[in-house]
Homo-oligomer: 277 residues x 3
């Protein structure tokens, strides 16, 4: 991926301040809002079916995150998604815990079947569930058997590309190695640190940031997704480098937001580890 | 405003530890609870209609914040508000996103029509919506066209005073310049820093702190509101002064709570920038 | 309590990474998730009745925290609890605000009556409410009249032991002095600092950590509860020792998570202040 394009992608977010409507879980929602602000976007949350169509109408993008879903919020997702679809808005789906419960699996499938999803971002267990090829999901974390490794990278990339082709959207599978695929393009990203798994919500935050990047870069959603994911991993690296012996996951969470907030185009261009597959 | 009164207002919060019932959005609720504890109050959250009357009865004040409202929580606001009204409790309304959706606009109007609201605190777009003179709201942020500036300060103050007179409550409009108005008094406050807009929830937190100040100073709700707002802005200044190059909005959020927590009467008296209009 | 057992109890959590399903309030849920990750466990949150049975089935333990309860989440607690009971999972009840409202008091009683609760953890006002001997609850904080002191320690321990015997579970009453009781054993724990009351959620976080410890140490739930509570108080002491003059409750919250995250078996063995009564 061209390095200057990568930097421009970030700068577009900062200059356009994309407003993103998030229907997301109540566990990590505050971090999602602050991550959106940190990256240069602006958040608004609403899940009441009677409220969401109006709210999504004033936004540029919509995040649907199915963690802590309930019947009301599921209805809200469909109402908001339908309006966002009519308006041609970016819709990013985060299938948190798909495979861990029948309701989550069904909800993810229904949203994909009925809405023009732009990007799906999840871990490999969740994405395999969506593709109907899942083994087992360990709650909201990836099943270790599903993890993308150097050994299964080519096969994982093929899987992602085929799913992207089938769904007609960008598929982003994040983990130790991230994969972003469209029907005709696949990249691997090797940014990030294991410490990111020691705080809740890094995936949820990333999904929101992907939405902001996609809204601000409508002509290249694939590139926007790659930039957002590489930048998020890089922010994790910056945060990890600040850790002192007394620091733990409380400080890491703060440093991660700080790093997203201070990320520059130059820093992203220099630090992104993106490989075309 | 008399400086000693200002300091006493803060000390009253710390000595009385006012218990504040908050029906508020799930995005910033944790920051609201910690801000209440930081300023010297004590929070309790409850939004279930069957729970709220009991809970509000043991408190001194009630915050109604309509961010992430839903039908159940709206009902809870009315039930809690009715009981709080019977008991003569302070009720502070934060009309988050009024103007951004029909449901939020209607809910804010209904609450104002039916409850004895003590203080309304919002940004100018939200408050204009309440007054029925709104142009357009940009989600949960103020429309730049609505912002209070030195140029429109006199007109903004008149607007606020007239609305306060009409509603029979204190009206607080916060932004780069804050305005607090009652039917016969108006002040401008020039504390605060722009960084406060880079984290979610500074407004929501402030609304809760205003409630704590009003509960602890029942004979001067206007002065309590002014003190709370000046103190919040001053805390933002203290937080901003602690920022290092590696710090971003994650650290700023922490520093803001710290500054609220450590604020003294002397500090508030020395740092508040309050102008009678 | 044997010091080596204490250390082993902690190490078991870190090596087993117990997955804990939490139905908990939206005020402190993010801190609960991060506390679980910090102590070595893994969190998953779900409260929708149609979702909870599946989710709890893949976990080892269940936390039921009645703060910000609503009718849907109460139903979710019963559905999840019934499944957890069938599976022999650890169930930890946190009766937040029992005594402060009829709904909370009734909900806590119903959960205790119908589910095989493993541990109850609350402040003395909440636990007295459960025992039917409560005076008055001050919201979510203990009524000062109820606080455990050196003067009433023996009587408080008897009360706890009798309740534990009656309920057939471990009873943990936390405060300045913590008491953990089963039918035939009682200990007092004197770790912790008063600053812990200046942030929201230390109790909620502790309840989740207790669950993780109990899941990872199924043969000694009593010892696991003691270890979790001593460790939590000790983490508070470590956090307090890091405080600088500019730090307030924002920083304390971060330091507390950090201290939980970095706690070692050696540190716990050296710092725990546990007295058999």
């Amino acid at each position: 991926m061209d390095s200057k394009v990568l930097g421009l992608t970030l700068d577009n977010v900062r200059s356009q301040v994309p407003l993103v409507h998030c229907i997301t879980n109540y566990v990590t929602v505050n971090d999602c809002a602050n991550a959106l602000l940190a990256c240069g976007g602006s958040p608004i949350m609403s899940d009441e079916p009677e409220d969401v169509a109006d709210i999504t109408s004033i936004c540029g993008g919509l995040v649907l995150n199915i963690g802590t879903l309930n019947k009301r919020s599921i209805e809200g997702m469909h109402v908001a998604g339908a309006r966002a679809g009519e308006l041609g808005h970016t819709i990013v789906l985060d299938p948190v815990g798909a495979g861990a419960s029948a309701l989550r699996t069904k909800t993810a499938a229904d949203l994909i079947d009925t809405l023009p999803i732009t990007v799906v971002r999840g871990n490999m267990s969740e994405v395999k569930t969506i593709a109907g090829t899942a083994a087992a999901t360990r709650g909201v974390d990836v099943n270790p058997d599903d993890a993308v490794t150097e050994d299964n990278l080519a096969a994982s990339a093929s899987f992602a590309r085929e799913l992207a082709s089938k769904l007609g959207c960008v598929v982003a599978i994040t983990g130790a190695i991230d994969i972003v695929a469209s029907a005709d393009r696949t990249v691997a990203i090797r940014n990030g640190v294991a410490t990111m798994g020691k705080i809740t919500g890094t995936g949820c935050m990333l999904t929101c940031v992907v939405a902001a990047y996609a809204v601000a870069n409508p002509d290249d959603v694939f590139g926007a997704t790659v930039a957002a994911i590489a930048g998020h991993g890089l922010a994790g690296e910056v945060a990890a480098a600040r850790m002192t012996p007394a620091d733990g996951n409380g400080s890491f969470r703060t440093y991660l937001l700080d790093a997203i907030c201070n990320m520059t185009a130059e820093q992203l261009m220099a630090g992104a580890k993106i490989e075309e597959l």
